[in-house]
């Protein structure tokens, strides 16, 4: 009996010691200060084009001609929504007597879509959200020529415009 009491007393003492130690340590912790932080994630958009040149090799009479290469466009953005528009200018020569080719002569198709969209006005061809992983989109271009198009070198631009909505 005496031995059991001693063991019980020892256990109680150990327990008290442990509890007191924990309490003591907890009381020694104090939140001394805090600092308010604003982390700013800057908005970004990255655009990659797979090639800087595509060619149309047209032999024969005027008509529809398709680019031999595809342009792969990859867009990445961390903003809530974003849109990519494509637009084309007219194609003109240095000879003022030669009429320009209007932008409506150019058309594009996306990925495996067989339908071509005219570039007579700015067109939305790609949209995304921030959580979306960058996915390449393939663009194919088509130019339609007519007998009215005089021989010469025509120059213009196809413009990709990016609009972010953070």
């Amino acid at each position: 009996m005496t031995h059991k009491i001693k063991r019980l007393l020892f256990a109680v003492l150990v327990t008290i010691y442990s509890v007191n130690s924990y309490s003591t340590e907890a009381e020694q912790w104090q939140e001394a200060a805090s600092i308010a932080v604003t982390a700013v994630v800057a908005p970004y958009t990255t655009v990659k084009l797979s090639t800087n040149e595509i060619t149309f090799d047209v032999r024969g009479e005027p008509g529809e001609y398709y680019s031999n290469e595809e342009v792969e466009v990859t867009v990445g953005s961390n903003q809530s929504t974003w849109s990519v528009y494509v637009d084309a200018s007219s194609l003109s020569t240095n000879n003022v007597e030669i009429a320009a080719l209007p932008s409506s002569r150019l058309a594009y198709a996306v990925d495996n879509n067989k339908e071509y969209q005219s570039l007579d006005k700015k067109m939305l061809f790609l949209q995304g959200v921030a959580a979306q992983a960058p996915r390449p989109v393939k663009l194919r271009f088509r130019l339609t020529t007519t007998w009215q198009d005089a021989p010469g070198t025509y120059k213009g631009n196809i413009t990709f415009a990016f609009l972010n909505n953070p």
Binding site: A32, V37, A39, V40, P43
Partner: protein
């Protein structure tokens, strides 16, 4: 025989006088003496009331005999007393007059002042005021509470997220003062949240390191309680300059993420 009787009378009178002196008393209120709770940055004050009995007709002076915690002694000149007979508060490294002997049993207040220093370890310091007179010593008990002060400069900042290998770091100066013989400074944070969308930057992308331009240290993630620095008792001083980094990921939505970084101190006495 007659001379002997005179001597005996003189002796008896002397003994009576002595007894009167021995029996002359000063009551203290409180009886436990002086008890102060001292906190760094403040002057702690306390009072006792001395009530001499009518037979107390001599001046009573006290000085601080000792005030210590374990082996650490506080200089007696740091405890001060103001009585009717002092010029303002005077240090108790010297005997100061508490009673003039003319109180006619009227009580007199004695007001004490003590201001702890950063080098005074927290704890209960015991000592006593002793007198040249045969009057009771006055127990002195001063409890110095532990205190650690942390100040951050700046206390609020904005930081652009960046890559760990091309970091945009923001500096914060940490000023700390402590009377703890040994202290440890910890940092902790939770996720940073974009309020409008509930998007998060997890705590494992928030990093800190001690600024070292000569030998840049590795970045440490704040995804758990992180011990950043430790030290001994010190007045308030700049103990370190920390650099913070928020690691960016492509999937992070653009905008502002708000969070709090907590500084915790662990005092080890």
């Amino acid at each position: 025989m007659g001379q002997m009787i005179s001597s005996l009378k003189f002796l008896f009178i002397g003994l009576l006088l002595t007894t009167s002196v021995i029996n002359a008393g000063v009551d203290l209120t409180p009886r436990s003496g002086i008890s102060l709770n001292a906190e760094l940055g403040k002057v702690s004050q306390g009072s006792i009331v001395l009530k001499p009995d009518a037979s107390q007709i001599s001046a009573v002076r006290y000085r601080l005999h000792s005030l210590q915690l374990n082996d650490y002694k506080i200089n007696p000149n740091r405890l001060k007393v103001k009585t009717l007979y002092t010029i303002g508060a005077e240090s108790l490294d010297l005997y100061r007059t508490f009673l003039s002997g003319n109180e006619n049993a009227n009580q007199v207040n004695a007001d004490f002042e003590f201001e702890p220093e950063w080098s005074d370890a927290p704890g209960v310091y015991m000592g006593s005021l002793v007198s040249t007179n045969d009057v009771p010593t006055i127990p002195v008990k001063i409890t110095i509470v532990p205190k650690t002060v942390v100040s951050l400069q700046p206390a609020i900042f904005s930081i652009n997220s960046s890559l760990v290998n091309a970091p945009i770091a923001h500096e914060v100066s940490v000023l700390l003062g402590s009377n703890s013989p040994h202290w440890e400074l910890y940092l902790n944070t939770d996720h940073f949240i974009q309020e409008a969308t509930d998007e998060k930057i997890n705590a494992d992308r928030i990093f800190v390191r001690i600024k070292d331009e000569i030998n840049p240290r590795p970045w440490l993630a704040l995804d758990k309680m992180l011990k950043i620095i430790s030290g001994v008792a010190t007045p308030i001083t700049t103990i370190t300059i920390l650099e913070f980094l928020v690691s960016s990921e492509r999937a992070d939505r653009a905008g502002e993420y708000l969070g709090n970084i907590k500084f915790l101190v662990r005092n080890i006495n």
